[in-house]
């Protein structure tokens, strides 16, 4: 069942949110910086705030239609909403929280035992929600929403407040929910890791507008605008100019260097572009330049090495700043330290051009 948002318009404090979106699921990430209107959009879908105009549907089931002045109350929408602050009821136990919206399951819908098992919260049931840890609260809030047998789950940055190790522990639970219960999810986040590990489709929302939508692969590989690229934290974004075309390759001048790129629609010579290179697409080689299948060979000097999550980020100056992500083992084998010369290889299809 697809969630369909048709010309939704909401008046927010400093801007207007205008969104049309069809989310086919299983998990659609709504990706955007904080303050871009994501939570307000979830509120509108959940029935907590009426849109000024537009229609909201799940499959053929209409939840709101501003033109008809029709707004189904939140309690009749059958939507499981896990807000950012979880909103567990502090005066109730974990069990009472779970049972608050529990409906006797129809066949194939999640049962209490099943949900409690999958999320591993059985030992928490008699405890007060104020006595359990952040990660546990997260799972309880998810379970509570699941137990209403919802048609759709809305998750508002469910992992934003957790540190990385805890995040890595909760992510598999979310993946289990996706695979076990097959409830479509709209997942608000501004985290790459969460998006890549859970979502199949994504919509990038910037200041109340959808800047790009598509499969996660497509959006990450081919960001439509430089704003989207920056938001997806594509590490290297440089301005350049197309200098020549050779068959299905173009040569782009970036600072003192020239890069080869290949695009479905090759830009004309002279076009001003942004050159985007994801750090995980950069290969580092210690020795002198040698022939390779990668079209771009960039010699440079290591500027800085920092740890980001499980991998190391190496910043290189090769006439323009370029970032590479490599494993700790690779870093040790290459004996990379700041100041050391290094060769960076990038395949032409990994050099993505966005017209300026």
């Amino acid at each position: 069942m697809a969630l369909i948002l048709q010309d939704i318009c909401l008046d927010l404090d400093s801007f207007k949110l205008e969104v049309s979106l069809e989310a086919q699921g299983p998990v659609t990430a709504l990706f955007g910086p904080s303050g871009s209107g994501k939570t307000s959009l979830l509120d509108a879908i959940a029935g907590l705030r009426p849109p000024r105009s537009g229609r909201i549907q799940i499959g053929r089931h209409v939840l709101a239609d501003a033109a008809q002045k029709f707004f189904l109350p939140a309690r009749q929408r059958g939507i499981g909403y896990v807000p950012q602050d979880l909103a567990l009821f502090p005066h109730l136990t974990v069990r009472q929280n779970l049972l608050y919206g529990y409906r006797q399951p129809e066949t194939g819908k999640p049962s209490l035992e099943h949900v409690v098992d999958v999320l591993e919260i059985k030992p928490l049931l008699p405890r007060s929600v104020q006595q359990i840890s952040g990660g546990e609260q997260q799972r309880v809030a998810l379970a509570r929403a699941l137990l209403t047998a919802p048609r759709l789950l809305l998750l508002d940055e469910p992992l934003a407040k957790l540190d990385l190790p805890l995040k890595l522990k909760i992510l598999p639970y979310l993946a289990r929910i996706r695979d076990e219960f097959r409830i479509p999810m709209l997942y608000v986040t501004h985290d790459r890791l969460e998006t890549l590990s859970l979502a199949t489709e994504m919509a990038v929302i910037i200041r109340g507008r959808i800047a790009q939508k598509g499969t996660v692969q497509d959006v990450f590989n081919r960001p439509a605008t430089v704003d989207v690229a920056a938001l997806l934290t594509i590490e290297t974004i440089q301005s350049g100019r197309v200098v020549s075309r050779q068959g299905d390759l173009v040569r782009v001048a970036v600072g003192p260097k020239e890069l080869s790129a290949t695009e479905a629609n090759l830009p004309l010579v002279g076009t001003e572009v942004y050159v985007c290179i994801r750090a995980e697409d950069v290969i580092l080689v210690p020795g002198p330049d040698a022939p390779s299948s990668a079209r771009n060979h960039l010699s440079g000097v290591v500027q800085a090495i920092t740890r980001t999550g499980a991998v190391m980020r190496v910043d290189i100056d090769c006439g323009f700043p370029l970032a590479a992500l490599i494993t700790r083992q690779a870093l040790e084998e290459l004996a990379l330290v700041p100041g050391r010369p290094v060769l960076a290889l990038v395949k032409a299809p990994h050099v993505h051009l966005i017209r300026r």
């Binding site: 509120d43 959940a46 909103a87 608050y100 509570r144």
Partner: protein, 223 residues
Amino acid sequence: MMTGETWQIVWFTVWVSILSTLCIIPFGLAAAWWLARVECRGKSLIETVISLPLVMPPVATGLILLRLLGRRGPIGGFLHDHLGLSVAFTWRAVLVSLGVMSFPLLVRSARAAFEGVNPRLEQVASSLGAGPFRVFFSITLPLATRGVTAGILLAFARALGEFGATIMVAGNIPGQTTTLSLAIFQSVQLGQDTTAFRLLGISTVLAFAAVWCGEWLTRRRKN
């Protein structure tokens, strides 16, 4: 020594105060919830009207009530003509004046308590399928218990001590509308100091018991 008359006054004061507090609880909580959660035009006007008895001289409030509830007043007249009920200068007038005078205290405390409940909790409760009444009784009210209890107690204490409005609309009819406060005033007027001090002692004990009860209730809730 406690005479039968004194007992009657104490008993009357206590039960009419309890009854008036019980009567205003549903309306007070409804008004408090409305003020805490609903945004609309004219809200500040209603807010002011509810608070009026708190800031106006009680005697003036009593006069307004007398106008309304008297046999020729709009409400009193209706009740007398259609139901045969007299209100002014009966125990019913005491009940009404205590209720009106303590109403704003209940509303103020309860409103602050409701405003302290995170609306997100109510919203999530409704998305879990709860209707407005269930949301109120299962989420809002339990989380606001302390403030609401305090408000009820404050209202009860105010009712126990009410004087100005009561004497206007209910008079001071021995055995019928005389409350503790009225009796204290009367005995001082008549120079019966012993009676006055005995009544004073009783009202101190009552006030003390009410406050202590409240403390005990809120503490028990907390644990």
